[in-house]
Amino acid sequence: MKIIIVEDDASIREEIKILLEGAGYEVECVEDFTQTKKQILDANADLLLLDIQIPYMNGETLLRELRKESDMPVIMVTSKSNEIDEVLSMSYGADDYITKPYNPTLLLLRIQAVLKRLSPSNSQLSHYRDLEVDFAKGTLKNSEQEVVLTKNEMIIFHFLLTHIDEIVTRDDLMTELWDNKEYISDNALTVNISRLRGKLSDFGYDDVIMTRKGQGYILS
């Protein structure tokens, strides 16, 4: 996945680049704002992160120009926390709108959400080893048995599954849960993880969720 950043503040540009690269995206930054539109179109990116206040051209104007030629996903970033501006941007064809200063985990989440919404392969079914995972029903099953997961357990498992073989921090899991309106506490997360481990071991998968001390969890 490639993301192109249009942001005139050099330090923010650099930090977002580091953040996104850390999350596994390929990143290109616009640094010369005389040819912004051309560079965006040439970059062939999967998503555009566009600041509203950029040199030479207003971000909203740029977005309208861009929409004539491309329907790539666009997230507008602005320091103006104003409903009117937001509605305007959305009407010009932005897919999401984020106000500064943003929480970095939230920024990643919104990018993920926009990409997910637009990718057609967003099925309710997935597989883990020989298990069939049904997110809508909240069940895990193989040829012999079916186990029901609670909503929280499913959110955790889903997140681990989409980040398989990667370290997932407790903070990442909390952000994901809270974003799904499950406002659980730190202790409840520990309880949910151990229950999820129990349910997985019912299928004979012991220790597939490993704890990395001081870092988080990893699903193998």
Partner: protein, 330 residues
């Protein structure tokens, strides 16, 4: 009567004149009947002159006096007809000039305040760029202590922004239909780390309703309420959001089991710079948060009340009215 009292010197001179006339008539042995007729005629003429003068002035002064009873006294010049007598003209023109110069002065201050507000708004948008950059840097280093301090800076800047917005006459907001649980979710996500740090239990109940509001303003309002709950919490803190909906309104209650508010402080909490007992204990209080919150609610026509028992709980109630409420009220 006042008119006559005001002209008592004139009347005195006229009486002296009549007496002189009478005495002169006597001295020159003028026919008595002619003398009396002349005096009566003089008196009649003088009465006519006074009456005429009175009539000319009375309408102008009555109008002036009547209009001075209204609330916007500074508009008086707009309501008066220009009088047709000289004194009145002088007064009318003076009033006109005074009002005009006052308006110019007010305009000067108004545009100065407007420019100042615009500058502050611009400054806040500018300061958000370094705050964002810092937040990204600190997040990378996992420096949570510094991030918490940064969040405080951010909250205080937001407060200034919304103080200005709540003051301006221009409508800075846009009322749209919003999902209530989504707005609450944004605010809880924003405060997630601090809520978890204090080990808050969060309960939500029936938040799946739509409300008409400005989402940015509403999130600021909710953020102030949540900030207060975090600032004044006790052990085993609880924060509960629950909503009820009927045909003309949605009522959102935000309950916390914190230290509460003293009964004597309760009626004052929305006053500007009022800090109360809790505010003195906790030196961080500026007394502006709830004041701004109330003003924003007033501007958006949302109801806002606070109920509390010291040492037990604080319950903030927000009321979002629907069209039906306004229709039946009219």
């Amino acid at each position: 009567m006042k008119y006559l009292a005001d002209h008592k010197k004139h009347i005195f001179l006229i009486v002296v004149f009549i007496i002189i006339q009478y005495l002169m008539g006597k001295a020159f042995h003028i026919e008595k009947a002619f003398l009396y007729a002349q005096i009566i005629l003089t008196i009649i003429f003088i009465i006519i002159i006074f009456t005429y003068d009175y009539m000319r002035k009375v309408s102008f002064y009555r109008q002036l006096d009547h209009h001075l009873k209204m609330k916007e006294k500074y508009l008086i010049i707009e309501t008066l007809n220009r009088p047709s007598f000289y004194e009145g003209e002088i007064m009318h023109d003076a009033l006109y000039e005074i009002t005009k110069s006052m308006n110019e002065k007010i305009y000067e201050y108004q545009s100065e305040t407007k420019h100042f507000k615009e500058y502050i708004e611009m400054w806040i948008h500018e300061v958000k760029t370094p705050i964002s950059a810092l937040s990204l840097m600190l997040h990378k280093d996992k420096n949570n202590k510094a991030l918490n301090q940064l969040k405080r800076i951010e909250n205080y800047t937001e407060q200034v922004l919304y103080y200005i917005r709540s003051q301006s006459d221009a409508q800075d907001y846009l009322i749209k239909e919003h999902q209530l649980d989504q707005c609450i979710n944004h605010v809880l996500m924003h405060n997630k780390d601090e809520l978890l740090m204090h080990h808050f239990t969060i309960e939500t109940d029936h938040l799946d309703c739509k409300v008409k509001s400005d989402s940015k303003w509403l999130e600021f309002i909710l953020n102030q309420i949540v900030s207060n709950a975090m600032k004044y919490h006790k052990e085993n803190p609880l924060l509960r959001f629950s909503a009820t909906e009927d045909e003309d309104k949605v009522v959102l209650s935000i309950y916390d089991n914190g230290i509460g508010i003293r009964a004597s402080d309760l009626p004052q909490v929305f006053k500007k710079s009022y800090t109360g007992f809790n505010g003195h204990e906790e030196e961080k209080s500026t007394g502006m948060g709830l004041f701004i919150t109330k003003r924003l609610c007033d501007a958006l026509h949302h109801g806002l009340t606070i109920d509390s028992k010291e040492g037990e709980y604080t319950k903030v109630t927000l009321i979002f009215y629907k069209e039906k409420y306004y229709v039946t009220k009219l």
